[in-house]
């Protein structure tokens, strides 16, 4: 497949474009990567995603696709090797449910836990812990959500491990508690330890610097 027929518009720090990178890497698909400056979006991005003006956008044979989970399903349907979703419709429904649960419930709570203060922050932390505990139940005691190998939910959610850990260190609160969520904790470790997963991740120090900058911005905003 010609590399120029597949293009990914992404951003180095975005977990959403990271998910797509992981899926493409897992399936051994060649593509052209275009780094977008989110403070200065390219005309190409605005043309390919006029509705949201966001990355990631996957462009395949000039057809743009947006929304990371939708892109993941597309990749899985076009390239059949190393499938992300299981075959059984009920298992597929469970996978879609958990991926949506992560985006709808876990991520907003974690972001609020990181960016809010006082009572609001306490509530957000409690909610984040509760939702992560619920997510842990979705593992059903397996090593990965995909079973013995990683799949759709692992790729949809695994990025939280690194970001939440760093964010937690900065605000002084354990967002992922190995004691109360041991299975989730070891899942994060196992997932983030996989070579192809590690290879695609942003450099540790740059990611930490970025999260620290976000924290400073939050503090400044809160005090003005």
């Amino acid at each position: 497949m010609a590399e120029d027929s597949l293009k990914l518009l992404g951003n180095w720090v975005s977990p959403y474009s990271l998910k797509v990178k992981w899926a493409l890497k897992l399936k051994g698909i060649q593509y052209q990567y275009v780094e977008e400056d989110l403070q200065n979006k390219s005309p190409m991005l605005l043309q390919y995603n006029p509705v949201y003006k966001k990355i990631p956008v996957l462009v395949h044979d000039d057809k743009p696709l947006a929304e990371s989970l939708i892109i993941l399903e597309y990749i899985d349907e076009v390239w059949k090797q190393n499938p992300l979703l299981p075959i059984d419709p009920y298992e597929r429904a469970k996978a879609r449910f958990w991926a949506k649960f992560v985006d709808d419930k876990c991520v907003p709570a974690l972001m609020a836990a990181f960016s809010k203060r006082g009572e609001e922050q306490e509530r957000a932390i409690k909610e984040a812990h509760e939702n992560l505990k619920i997510l842990e139940s979705g593992l059903e005691g397996k090593r990965f959500f995909g079973g013995e190998t990683i799949g759709f939910v692992d790729i949809a959610a695994g990025w939280i491990g690194r970001s939440a850990q760093m964010a937690g260190e900065i605000i002084g609160i354990k967002l992922i508690d190995a004691e109360t969520m041991p299975l989730l904790d070891s899942w994060f470790q196992d997932f983030l330890g996989i070579p192809l997963i590690k290879e695609c991740m942003p450099p540790q120090d740059k990611l930490l610097e970025h999260i620290k900058e976000l924290h400073t911005k939050n503090l400044t905003a809160a005090s003005t």
Binding site: V51, A66, I70, P89, A93, R96, F97
Partner: protein
Amino acid sequence: MMASSAMVTANQLIIMAELKLFRTWSSRFALRVVWALDLKGIQYDTIFEDLSNKSSLLLQYNPIYKKVPVLVHNGKPLLESLVILEYIDETWKQTPLLPEDPSERATARFWAKFGDDKVLPSIWNVFIKQGKDQEEAIVTAQENLGFVERQLTGKKFFNGETIGLVDLAFGWLANLLSVWEEVCGATLIDHEKFPLLLEWIQNFADAPIIKESWPPRDKLITKYQAHHEVYTSKEAPK
């Protein structure tokens, strides 16, 4: 709905053995599932829930969200209406809701998600706000509706000639929108700006099977009048 005997195979009889849908009389999300099952001619039992007094079965099947719809197939619960729709489409292949081409499927999923993430909340915002806030909410809602309108260019339904997933996902536009407009006194969809949407609303609302399931309009008006009073009594008009 009775499936015609020509369509029902031995396998389907086994699959149809235990199918239960938990819904409420008015839930726009549960209605999507009703339509999907009815369009495919699938038999199922309906359990109507009173959300102020949820059944222990509902809480058992959906402990995380405690909401409808829940579709239970052979004892296994399915949650989230769009996830349920995809499950139905994958399990029963007649009258497909999604096209076969992967990029068309991705496009359909995109618009269904846009409907739930952006269109619905922005229109609800118009419904619950007043004065200047409502004016601003109308601008946002109409921007979102503009994207939706353009998707209907050259098509009878979002899915083309036949109803599909995106049509079911936007189904609430064909009945609830006019209820909310009537209750709150704002008009969102007019002939000048949204001719295709208005036509789609007509075609969808009158489509066979779809039209058999609409909740009674007068009950919806009463329900949303009560909602509106609650919301507008909290705020002074600006």
